[in-house]
C-alpha cells in the first residue's frame, strides 16, 4: 500500500520559531504533571521565557537566509516564511516577552493576577481553601505558549486551512486565559464566554469563506488561488468572481475580528475589561500583530491576482472598515470612564489606522504596518502593565483589585511619578506625538495610504488621531494635574476612618442594627472608601514597563535601524 506515497522532507530550521514555542508548551504540560508544586511556577516561567527567547533567536538566525532567498517553506507552503512573515514573527516574539513578564509578576501584594484555581466557583469556601493552600494556576504558562505558537504560525502559511487551524490555536488558549482572573472573576468568565462565542461565530464565518475560495479555485493555497485568479480556465469554477469575492469578504471577517476592527470589534471593550489585565496586554499587542500579519499575508497575496473590479470591491470594503473603525475607536473612546475600556477603544482606533495602511496592498504599506505593530505593541503592553500596578486598598490596608475607574487615577503623578511618566509616555506614543514610536508609525501608515491615492482616508486618519489625542491627554491631565480623589475627600475620610482602625471589626455606632447588618455596612463603606495605591512590582512587570518605555523612546528617537529592519521585512510574497 505504500507505493506512491512520498514522505515529505521537512527543513526543521525553517519551522524553528514556531516549533520551539509549541514544543515548550507541550513540555510545560508535562511540567504540570511531573514537577513538584513548589518549583512549578518558576520552572514554567523560565521555560516560557526561554522558549520565547529561543524563538526570537531562531527568527534572527533565519533572517539573513529568508532575506537572501526571499522565502523559505516546508511541505507545499503549508508553512511559508517570507521576509514580512518573519518580521511579524519577530514582532510577536519581541512583544510576547514583556507580555509574559507582566503575567509572571506577583507584585508586592504577593499575588499574581490569576486565580489560585480557575475551576473554583468565585466566592465559595473552596476558593478560600484553594487560596490558603497556596494553589497556583501554572497552566497559564503553557497556554500562553500555545497562543504564542498560534500567533507565530498565523501569518506564516500559504494555506488557508492552516490559517484557520492557527487561528484556533491562538484563540482557544486565549479564551481560557480570559477566564482566570483572580479578582472580579465573574467578569473574567463573562469575558471568556463572550470572546469564545463571538470568536467561534466569526471563525465559522471565516471558514465558510475559505470553503467558498476552495470552491472557486479548487485549492486553499493562496499562491495557487492567485494563479487561478489570473488564469480562470485552470479551475472549473474559476469564472465565478462572486465566489471568491464573497469568500474573501468572509475570510476578512474572521481576520478583522481578531484585529478588532469595526464592525467586528464588539467583543473588544468587554473582553479587554474583563480579562486579567496582563492577559489583556498580551493579547492586545500580540494577537493584533499576528492577525494583521495574517491579513496582509492573505490580502496582499490575493491582490496580486485580483482584476480591477475585484480589487476595487475589496478596497471599498477596507475603506468602510477603516472609516468605521477609526470613528468608533476615537469617538467612543472619548466617553469612556474605565481605563481598560479606554485602552480597548484606543486599540480599536489603532486597528483603524492599521487598516488605513493596508489599502494600497503595497510594500510601503507592509513596512509601515510592521513598524506600527511594534510601536503600538510596546506602548500597549507597557500601558496594561501599569494598570496592573494601580490598585485599590481597603481601610485595613489590604490590597484589592485594580483601580480601573478613571476617576481613581487622579493625582497618580504624586503617588508614583515614574510609573505615571511611563504611562504618559505610552499614551503620548499612542497619540502619535513626535519623538515617540507612535508618531513615525502613524506617519508611515498614512503615507502608505496617500501613496496609494487614498488621501481622504489619510486625512480622516489624521483627523481621528487629532481627536484621539483628546482622550489620551485627558488621562495625562488627570494623572498629573488633578489632585487625587482621596485627597480631595480627605477631611471627611479622616473623620470616618479614625474609629475604623481595626478594619472589619468596626461596630456600627447606631448599635441597634444588629451585628450582621453592621458588618455589611462596614464592608460596604470599606469598599466605597477604598483608596488607590500603587503596588510595587516584584521585578518582572517593572522590567517589562522599563523595556517598553525604552523601546518606545528608542524607536521614536532613533528609528533608523528599526525602519531599516521593517523595510527589509516589507516583501510579503515569495
Amino acid at each position: 500500500m505504500n507505493d506512491g506515497f512520498i514522505a515529505p522532507e521537512i527543513d526543521w530550521a525553517v519551522v524553528a520559531p514556531v516549533l520551539v514555542v509549541l514544543g515548550a508548551g507541550v513540555l510545560g504540560v508535562l511540567v504540570e504533571a511531573f514537577v513538584p508544586a513548589r518549583a512549578r511556577r518558576v520552572t514554567q516561567i523560565l521555560l516560557t521565557l526561554a522558549a520565547l527567547a529561543g524563538s526570537l533567536v531562531a527568527v534572527v538566525l533565519l533572517w539573513p537566509r529568508v532575506l537572501r532567498d526571499g522565502f523559505a517553506f516546508i511541505v507545499d507552503g503549508t508553512y511559508l516564511l517570507t521576509p514580512f512573515t518573519l518580521g511579524v514573527q519577530a514582532v510577536v516574539a519581541v512583544l510576547a516577552i514583556p507580555g509574559v513578564l507582566v503575567i509572571a509578576d506577583r507584585t508586592s501584594s504577593g499575588e499574581d493576577a490569576f486565580a489560585p484555581t480557575a475551576a473554583a466557583v468565585p466566592g465559595t469556601a473552596y476558593e478560600d481553601a484553594a487560596r490558603q493552600a497556596g494553589l497556583q494556576q501554572t497552566e497559564i504558562y503553557p497556554l500562553v505558549l500555545f497562543a504564542t505558537g498560534g500567533m507565530l504560525l498565523f501569518p506564516a502559511t500559504d494555506n488557508l486551512i492552516v490559517l484557520f487551524i492557527a487561528l484556533e490555536v491562538l484563540s482557544l488558549p486565549l479564551y481560557v486565559l480570559c477566564a482566570t482572573a483572580r479578582r472580579r472573576r465573574l467578569l473574567s468568565q463573562e469575558a471568556a464566554f463572550k470572546y469564545f462565542l463571538l470568536g467561534s461565530f466569526a471563525s465559522a464565518l471565516m471558514l465558510f469563506g475559505i470553503a467558498l475560495v476552495y470552491g472557486f479555485a479548487g485549492t486553499v493555497s493562496l499562491e495557487t488561488v492567485v494563479l487561478v485568479l489570473q488564469h480562470p480556465e485552470l479551475s472549473p469554477l474559476g469564472t465565478m468572481p462572486g465566489l471568491v469575492l464573497t469568500g474573501v469578504l468572509l475570510v476578512l471577517v474572521g481576520l478583522l475580528f481578531k484585529v478588532g476592527a469595526a464592525p467586528f470589534h464588539t467583543w473588544t471593550p468587554d473582553v479587554y475589561q474583563g480579562a486579567p489585565t496582563p492577559v489583556t496586554g498580551f493579547m492586545a499587542a500580540c494577537t493584533k500583530a499576528a492577525a494583521v500579519g495574517a491579513l496582509v499575508r492573505v490580502l496582499f497575496t490575493l491582490a496580486a491576482g485580483f482584476d480591477d473590479a475585484l480589487r476595487g470591491d475589496i478596497v471599498v470594503a477596507l475603506w468602510v472598515v477603516a472609516i468605521l473603525t477609526m470613528l468608533v475607536g476615537t469617538v467612543a473612546g472619548a466617553v469612556q470612564t474605565d481605563v481598560k475600556r479606554l485602552l480597548a477603544y484606543s486599540s480599536i482606533a489603532h486597528a483603524g489606522f492599521l487598516v488605513v495602511g493596508l489599502v494600497g496592498f503595497s510594500e510601503l504599506g507592509a513596512r509601515a504596518v510592521v513598524f506600527y505593530l511594534l510601536a503600538y505593541g510596546l506602548a500597549t503592553i507597557g500601558a496594561f502593565a501599569v494598570v496592573t500596578l494601580v490598585r485599590e486598598q481597603d481601610a485595613s490596608g489590604v490590597v484589592l483589585g485594580e483601580a480601573t475607574r478613571l476617576a481613581q487615577w487622579a493625582g497618580l503623578g504624586r503617588k508614583a511619578p515614574w510609573l505615571t511618566a511611563a504611562f504618559a509616555l505610552f499614551l503620548l506614543s499612542m497619540a502619535g506625538i513626535p519623538l515617540t514610536a507612535g508618531f513615525l508609525a502613524k506617519f508611515g501608515v498614512f503615507q502608505a495610504a496617500v501613496d496609494a491615492g487614498a488621501w481622504p482616508l489619510a486625512v480622516l486618519g489624521v483627523l481621528a488621531s487629532a481627536v484621539a489625542v483628546f482622550f489620551y491627554v485627558r488621562v495625562i491631565v488627570l494623572m498629573v494635574l488633578t489632585p487625587p480623589a482621596d485627597e480631595r475627600a480627605a477631611p471627611e475620610a479622616a473623620g470616618a476612618a479614625a474609629p475604623g482602625a481595626a478594619g472589619a471589626a468596626v461596630r456600627p455606632v447606631e448599635g441597634g442594627g444588629g451585628t450582621a447588618a453592621g458588618v455589611v455596612t462596614a464592608a460596604r463603606t470599606a469598599v466605597a472608601r477604598a483608596t488607590v495605591v500603587v503596588v510595587g512590582s516584584r521585578g518582572p512587570a517593572a522590567l517589562a514597563i522599563a523595556l517598553c518605555a525604552l523601546g518606545v523612546l528608542l524607536v521614536g528617537l532613533l528609528p533608523a535601524s528599526v525602519l531599516d529592519l521593517a523595510g527589509e521585512a516589507a516583501k510579503f510574497r515569495p
Binding site: 500500500m1 506512491g4 506515497f5 512520498i6 514522505a7 515529505p8 521537512i10 519551522v15 509549541l22 508548551g25 507541550v26 504540560v29 516546508i74 511541505v75 507545499d76 503549508t78 508553512y79 484555581t117 480557575a118 475551576a119 473554583a120 473552596y126 481553601a129 484553594a130 493552600a133 494553589l135 494556576q137 497552566e139 497559564i140 503553557p142 497556554l143 500555545f146 505558537g149 504560525l153 502559511t157 494555506n159 486551512i161 492552516v162 487551524i165 492557527a166 484556533e168 490555536v169 482557544l172 488558549p173 479564551y175 481560557v176 477566564a179 482566570t180 465558510f208 467558498l212 470552491g215 472549473p236 469554477l237 469564472t239 465565478m240 462572486g242 465566489l243 464573497t246
Partner: protein, 285 residues
C-alpha cells in the same frame, strides 16, 4: 453535473427533513430537543457524505460528531439541568426581527453566490478514490498536511488543558479513608453522635415522605432523620402533627365504619392507632 436518480431521491428525502430539524433549533423550547434535532442533521449529513463519495468522512461524522461531540453536549445539558426549558419570548427589543432578517439575508446572499456554482461538469472523485477513500485521504494528509496535523495535535492538547483548568477541582484536604471515617465516628460517639448512618426519613413511620421523621426502635420520632434543609426552613412535620393527621384519618374511617358497624369495633380501631402516641412527642417542639 447531475447525480444519479438514487442520489436525487436520497437528497430530496433527507434535505427537507434536515432543514426541518435545523429549524427546530430555532423554535424548540427544550435544549435536549434542540440537541436531538442537531443530531438528526448530523446523521443526515453523514449519509450525504457517503453519497458524495466521502465514506470516510461519513463514518467520522457519525463517530466523532454525533457520537462524541453531541454526547458531550448532552452531558453538559445534564449538568445544567436537562429539564430547563428556554422561554422563547424575546427580551431584547428588535433582536428577533434583526436576527431573522440577517439570517434570511445571509441565506439569500449565499444561495445566490453558490447557486451559480456549476458551469462545467464536475469531475467526481472516482479517480481520487481509486485506492479507497481513507487511503487517498491519508496520502494527502501525510504528504501535504503534516504541519496542519501536528498543529491540530497542539490544539487537542490545548483543549484538554482548557477543560482541566476550567473544570477540574483539585482535592485540597487529605483523602478520607474508610478507616479515618470509622475512627472519627467512634470518637464522635462521645458527643452523642450516632455511630451508624442516620436513619432515612419516614422509616417505620406510617408516612414515608421526606418531611416525616423516622421512628426509632423505641417508637420515638428521630428529628435528625429529616434533611437539614427542611428542618432549617421549618418545613418538617413533627411527629405530633403526623400523629394528629393519622388520628383524623382514622377518625374519618371510624366515622365511616360507625355508620355500618357496631360501636365496639370503632373502639378497637382507636386503641390500635394509639401506640404511636408517645409522651415525648408533644413536648419536643
Amino acid at each position: 453535473m447531475t447525480a444519479s436518480g438514487g442520489e436525487a431521491f436520497l437528497f430530496w428525502t433527507l434535505a427537507p427533513l434536515m432543514v426541518l430539524a435545523a429549524s427546530g433549533l430555532l423554535v424548540v423550547r427544550k435544549a435536549v430537543h434542540a440537541a436531538i434535532c442537531v443530531m438528526f442533521v448530523m446523521v443526515g449529513l453523514a449519509i450525504l457524505y457517503v453519497a458524495q463519495e466521502a465514506p470516510f468522512l461519513g463514518v467520522v461524522q457519525v463517530v466523532v460528531y454525533t457520537g462524541a461531540v453531541m454526547m458531550l453536549f448532552l452531558f453538559v445539558l445534564m449538568l445544567v439541568g436537562v429539564d430547563s426549558a428556554d422561554s422563547l419570548t424575546e427580551t431584547i427589543r428588535g433582536q428577533r426581527w434583526i436576527g431573522l432578517l440577517l439570517g434570511a439575508g445571509l441565506a439569500a446572499v449565499l444561495l445566490t453566490v453558490i447557486g451559480r456554482a456549476t458551469f462545467r461538469p464536475a469531475v467526481g472523485l472516482a479517480d481520487a478514490n481509486a485506492v479507497s477513500n481513507p487511503v487517498a485521504l491519508a496520502r494527502v494528509l501525510f504528504e501535504h498536511y503534516v504541519v496542519a496535523m501536528q498543529v491540530v495535535g497542539v490544539l487537542l492538547v490545548t483543549a484538554a488543558l482548557a477543560a482541566l483548568v476550567l473544570t477540574h477541582r483539585r482535592r485540597l484536604g487529605p483523602r478520607l479513608t474508610q478507616r479515618a471515617v470509622a475512627t472519627a465516628r467512634v470518637a464522635a460517639l462521645a458527643q452523642g453522635r450516632p455511630l451508624t448512618p442516620l436513619p432515612a426519613p419516614g422509616v417505620y413511620a406510617q408516612n414515608n415522605a421526606m418531611d416525616t421523621p423516622a421512628l426509632g426502635p423505641d417508637g420515638r420520632p428521630l428529628e435528625h432523620s429529616v434533611p437539614r434543609v427542611l428542618r432549617i426552613r421549618g418545613q418538617e412535620r413533627s411527629a405530633t402533627a403526623v400523629l394528629a393527621a393519622e388520628e383524623t384519618l382514622v377518625e374519618h374511617r371510624a366515622a365511616a365504619a360507625e355508620l355500618s358497624e357496631a360501636a365496639e369495633l370503632s373502639e378497637t380501631a382507636r386503641t390500635a392507632g394509639s401506640p404511636a402516641r408517645t409522651p415525648g412527642g408533644e413536648e419536643h417542639r
